[in-house]
C-alpha cells in the first residue's frame, strides 16, 4: 500500500479505534492537544452526505447542510456509539443547533445511541473579552476530559501533545506549500485526502505518510486553470473538489480547516502558559463561520490570493445558505483587487466550471 493509499483509507474509514478512550470532535476550533493530553484518541466526526437521512430529517429543519444531516443520521444509527464523549464546537451555527437537537432527542428518550455531549462554546468575535471567555471554556473542557478519561491534563502532558500536533502541522504546511505549484502534480482532491486523513490517524504516522507522499513522483498539472476556494460549508468531504476538478480546474487552496487552514502557525511549545498558547492558536489562526470582524475572516484569503496567484476565486454558496451570501460581494471585491475573477457556484456542477474557464480563455 502506497502512502497515499494509506492516507485515503484513513480518510474514508473514519473509524473509532478499539481499546482506548475516544473523543469525537465536531468543529476545527477544538484543540486536539487537550484530547491527546487526556490520554484519549481524538476523532473528527463528520459523516459524508452520500445517502438518505430519514431519521435525521424528522428533527432537522431544512437549512441544515448535508454534513450535519448525515452526521445526525449516523449518530442515531449508532455509528458513534463507541465514543466516550462528543464535543461540539460553536464554530458554526449548525454545530450549536445540532448540540441542541441532540440534547432534545436525549430528553425525549431517543438518545440511546448518542454519546455524552459537551458544548465547547467559543465566541468568535476577536475581542479580549471573548478570548477570556474562551480560555475559561478551554479549562472547562480540560476538566470534562479529565473526568472522562481519568487522566489529568497537566501542562507537561499538554506540552508533549503540542509537540505531536506541531510535527503534524509542519508536515501539512510542507504539503500546502508544494500544492501551490502545479508542477508538484498534487490535485485538490489528493491534497484534501492527505490533509483530512490527519483527523483519523496517529499524528506521527500521519506526518510520516504525508512526507512520503510528497516525495513520490507525480505527473504535472500545469495545464489546468488554478482555483482558490472559499465555501459556505465545511469541506469535510471531496464533493466540491471533485466537481471543480471534473470541470477542468485545479484547486490549489481552500479557506477551510479540512484543507489549507489545517496547518498554519505552530504553537510555541515553550510558552509560559501552554494552555493559553494552545487556545490562542485555535482562537486566532483557525477559520470559523462565526469569526468577526470581516477583516479577520479575510486575512488568510487576501494573503493566499497573493501567494498562490490563482486564475479564479471559486465561491461556493449552497442553495440552503442563510449567511455566507452576505460575504459574497466583499469576497468578489477582494478578488478583483488582486486581479482575480470570481466564479460563483451554487451547485456541484462541473459544467458551470468548464463554461467559466472556456469563456475566460475566449476573452
Amino acid at each position: 500500500m502506497s502512502a497515499f493509499e494509506e492516507l485515503g483509507a484513513a480518510y474514508r474509514d473514519r473509524s473509532i479505534p478499539d481499546g482506548r478512550k475516544a473523543i469525537g470532535l465536531m468543529g476545527a476550533t477544538i484543540p486536539v492537544e487537550l484530547v491527546l493530553a487526556s490520554g484519549a484518541v481524538p476523532l473528527a466526526i463528520a459523516a459524508a452526505p452520500d445517502g438518505p437521512t430519514p431519521t435525521a430529517d424528522r428533527y432537522l429543519e431544512d437549512h441544515f447542510d448535508g454534513e450535519v444531516r448525515a452526521t445526525l443520521q449516523a449518530l442515531l444509527e449508532g455509528a458513534f456509539r463507541g465514543l466516550d464523549l462528543l464535543v461540539l464546537a460553536r464554530s458554526s451555527d449548525a454545530y450549536l443547533e445540532l448540540y441542541y437537537v441532540l440534547k432534545e432527542i436525549v430528553r425525549l428518550g431517543g438518545g440511546e445511541a448518542i454519546p455524552p455531549l459537551h458544548l465547547y462554546d467559543l465566541l468568535h468575535g476577536r475581542s479580549d473579552a471573548n478570548r477570556a471567555y474562551g480560555l475559561a471554556r478551554l479549562r472547562e473542557l480540560a476538566s470534562r476530559l479529565e473526568a472522562t478519561t481519568g487522566v489529568s491534563v497537566t501542562s507537561e502532558r499538554l506540552r508533549a501533545a503540542t509537540r505531536q500536533t506541531n510535527l503534524q502541522r509542519a508536515s501539512v504546511n510542507r504539503l500546502l506549500e508544494a500544492r501551490r505549484d502545479p508542477a508538484s502534480g498534487i490535485s485538490g482532491v489528493e491534497a484534501m485526502t492527505a490533509i483530512g486523513a490527519g483527523r483519523f490517524l496517529d499524528l506521527a504516522r500521519h506526518a510520516a505518510l504525508v512526507d512520503t507522499y510528497l516525495a513520490e513522483p507525480r505527473p504535472t498539472l500545469e495545464h489546468r486553470p488554478r482555483v482558490l476556494l472559499a465555501a459556505g460549508v465545511a469541506l469535510s468531504n471531496l464533493d466540491l473538489h471533485e466537481a471543480l476538478e471534473s470541470g477542468s480546474a485545479l484547486v490549489v487552496g481552500e479557506d477551510d480547516a479540512w484543507g489549507s487552514r489545517a496547518g498554519g502557525e505552530l504553537v510555541d511549545e515553550s510558552a509560559a502558559d501552554i494552555f493559553e498558547a494552545v487556545f490562542d492558536k485555535h482562537f486566532y489562526d483557525l477559520p470559523s463561520p462565526r469569526l468577526s470582524p470581516a477583516a479577520a475572516r479575510d486575512e488568510w484569503l487576501r494573503a493566499e490570493l497573493g501567494r498562490s496567484r490563482p486564475d479564479a476565486l471559486a465561491v461556493y454558496i449552497p442553495r440552503s445558505d442563510t449567511w455566507f451570501g452576505w460575504d459574497f460581494p466583499r469576497l468578489r471585491s477582494l478578488a478583483a483587487e488582486a486581479g482575480v475573477p470570481t466564479l460563483l457556484l451554487r451547485d456541484h456542477d462541473p459544467a458551470v466550471v468548464r463554461a467559466f474557464f472556456a469563456e475566460a480563455a475566449h476573452r
Binding site: 429543519e61 450549536l96 432534545e104 462554546d121 465566541l123 442563510t322 452576505w326 459574497f328
Partner: protein, 419 residues
C-alpha cells in the same frame, strides 16, 4: 375569505397606538434631522432600556421591516440587495433596513426613509447577524456594538415557570456575565456619543416601569385565556402590545398598557366577542404577518375561526419580567441572555408553545416556518392533541404575497378541525 375594512379596528386603544407610533417616528426624524440628535439602530432583543436612560432615540430593524412590509415596498429593497450580489435566499427579516440604508433614493420610503444612525447594536442571533449588522454599520458609517451571547448548556423545559425570579439559575451565570460585559460596552459607547454619564438609578426606575407594563400584559393574557370568547383580535393584540413594547418603560407605554388592559377587561366582562360566531380558536407561532394582518381574521366568516394567541403578548410577561436584583444591568442580561433561545430552540419553544396554547384553549396552531425548532414544536403540539399546520411563508417579502397561505389554513381547518 375577504375582510371588510370598516370592521378592522374594534378597540379604542388601537388607533391611539398607531397614532403614537407615527407621531413618535416623526418626532424621531425631527430630533435626528433638525436637531442633529444621535439615534441607534438596534434589534428587538437588544437592551433598549440602555438607550432610554441616555435619552437616545432608537429604531429596531424588526419594527422598520414590519413597517416597510406593511407599506408593501419591501420588495424594492430586497431587489436592490440582489442587484448588489446578495442572493435572494438570504433571510429577509432584518435585511430590509440594510436595503434602506443602501438605497440612494428615499423618495418612496415609508415616512421619508430611515435616517443614518449614530450607533448600531444587535444581538448576534446567528452567524449571518454579525455580517448583516456590520454591513449596515458600514453603510451608515457608524460603530456597531455586538451583543454576543454564549450557548445554553442547561435547558429547563418549563423555563417560564422559573424565569421571573430564578433567571440566574435558569439562564446560567457564566452566560449572564458575558452579556453584562456586552451591555457595559454599549453603555460606554452611549456615554461617548451622548456625552452623558450612565445613570444606574434611572435604569432601575425604568425597569420598575417595564415590570409594571409587562404585568398589565400578563393580565391581558389571563383575561383572553379565561374569556369564553376572544375579546380582542390578534391583529389588535399585536398593534397594542408591540407599540408599547417598542417604547417599554416610558410613561406613555405604561399608560397605554393599562389602557389596553382596561379596555380588554371591560369587553370581557361585558361579554363582547371580537367575532361573535367564534367556533374554532387558533394559535399563531412565529413572527407576525405584519404585511397582511388581515390574515388573522380572514377565517372568521368562512370557518368561524379566530386567531387568539401569538408570542408577542405572551412573551411580554414570560420573557420580560425579571425580578430580584439590585443590579439593573444584570436584570436586563437575565432577560436578554436567552430571549432568542426561548423563542427558537427546543425544548424551550415547544414546551412553552404547548403550555401557552393549552392555556388559550387553542383548537389548532399555525406555525410560520422560520426554520427554528419548528419540527419539534409541531410534534409537541400534535402529541399534546393540538393539530398543527406548518406554513411556509415570508413575513416580510411583499413580492410573494398570494393566497396560498390562506388556502392552506382553510384546508387545515376543514381537514383537521371541522369536527
Amino acid at each position: 375569505m375577504s375582510v371588510a375594512p370598516s370592521d378592522r379596528v374594534q378597540l379604542a386603544a388601537t388607533p391611539l397606538a398607531s397614532a403614537y407610533q407615527r407621531q413618535w417616528f416623526q418626532e424621531l426624524r425631527r430630533r435626528v434631522f433638525e436637531e442633529g440628535q444621535p439615534y441607534a439602530l438596534t434589534n428587538a432583543t437588544s437592551p433598549h432600556e440602555v438607550f432610554d436612560v441616555f435619552a437616545m432615540p432608537y429604531v429596531t430593524n424588526e419594527w422598520w421591516s414590519g413597517l416597510v412590509a406593511a407599506k408593501r415596498v419591501s420588495g424594492r429593497y430586497l431587489e436592490l440587495l440582489e442587484q448588489l450580489g446578495y442572493h435572494e435566499d438570504l433571510p429577509h427579516y432584518g435585511a430590509v433596513a440594510l436595503g434602506t440604508l443602501l438605497d440612494s433614493d428615499p423618495t418612496d420610503a415609508p415616512w421619508g426613509g430611515l435616517p443614518r444612525p449614530a450607533l448600531l447594536c444587535g444581538r448576534l442571533v446567528d452567524q449571518g447577524a454579525e455580517r448583516l449588522w456590520s454591513l449596515m454599520a458600514e453603510a451608515a458609517g457608524a460603530p456597531f456594538v455586538p451583543i454576543e451571547v454564549p450557548g445554553s448548556t442547561v435547558m429547563y423545559p418549563r423555563w417560564w415557570e422559573m424565569a421571573r425570579t430564578g433567571w440566574e439559575d435558569v439562564f446560567e451565570t457564566h452566560r449572564i456575565d458575558r452579556v453584562v460585559a456586552c451591555f457595559r460596552d454599549l453603555v460606554g459607547e452611549c456615554e461617548r456619543i451622548t456625552g452623558r454619564r450612565f445613570d444606574e438609578a434611572a435604569l432601575s426606575a425604568l425597569l420598575d416601569r417595564v415590570h409594571a407594563q409587562e404585568e398589565c400584559f400578563d393580565e391581558v393574557r389571563t383575561i383572553i385565556c379565561e374569556a369564553p370568547r376572544l375579546p380582542v383580535r390578534l391583529s389588535e393584540q399585536l398593534t397594542n402590545t408591540m407599540t408599547a413594547q417598542w417604547h417599554r418603560g416610558s410613561e406613555w407605554a405604561l399608560e397605554h398598557a393599562r389602557r389596553f388592559r382596561d379596555e380588554v377587561l371591560r369587553r370581557a366582562e361585558e361579554g363582547v366577542a371580537a367575532f361573535p360566531g367564534e367556533r374554532i380558536r387558533l394559535g399563531w407561532v412565529g413572527v407576525g404577518l405584519w404585511q397582511d394582518t388581515d390574515f388573522y381574521r380572514a377565517f372568521e366568516e368562512s370557518h368561524g375561526t379566530v386567531f387568539v394567541r401569538s408570542m408577542y403578548l405572551s412573551i411580554a410577561s414570560d420573557g420580560y419580567l425579571r425580578y430580584g436584583t439590585r443590579d439593573p444591568l444584570r436584570s436586563l442580561a437575565g432577560r436578554y441572555a436567552s430571549f432568542n433561545e426561548t423563542l427558537h430552540t427546543a425544548p424551550w419553544l415547544p414546551e412553552w408553545t404547548v403550555a401557552d396554547c393549552r392555556r388559550h384553549h387553542c383548537d389548532g396552531v399555525v406555525i410560520a416556518n422560520l426554520g427554528s425548532a419548528v419540527k419539534f414544536t409541531a410534534d409537541a403540539l400534535e402529541r399534546a392533541g393540538i393539530p398543527a399546520l406548518v406554513l411556509d411563508i415570508d413575513a416580510v417579502d411583499t413580492r410573494n404575497r398570494d393566497d396560498a397561505a390562506r388556502q392552506a389554513v382553510a384546508e387545515f381547518l376543514e381537514r383537521r378541525l371541522a369536527a
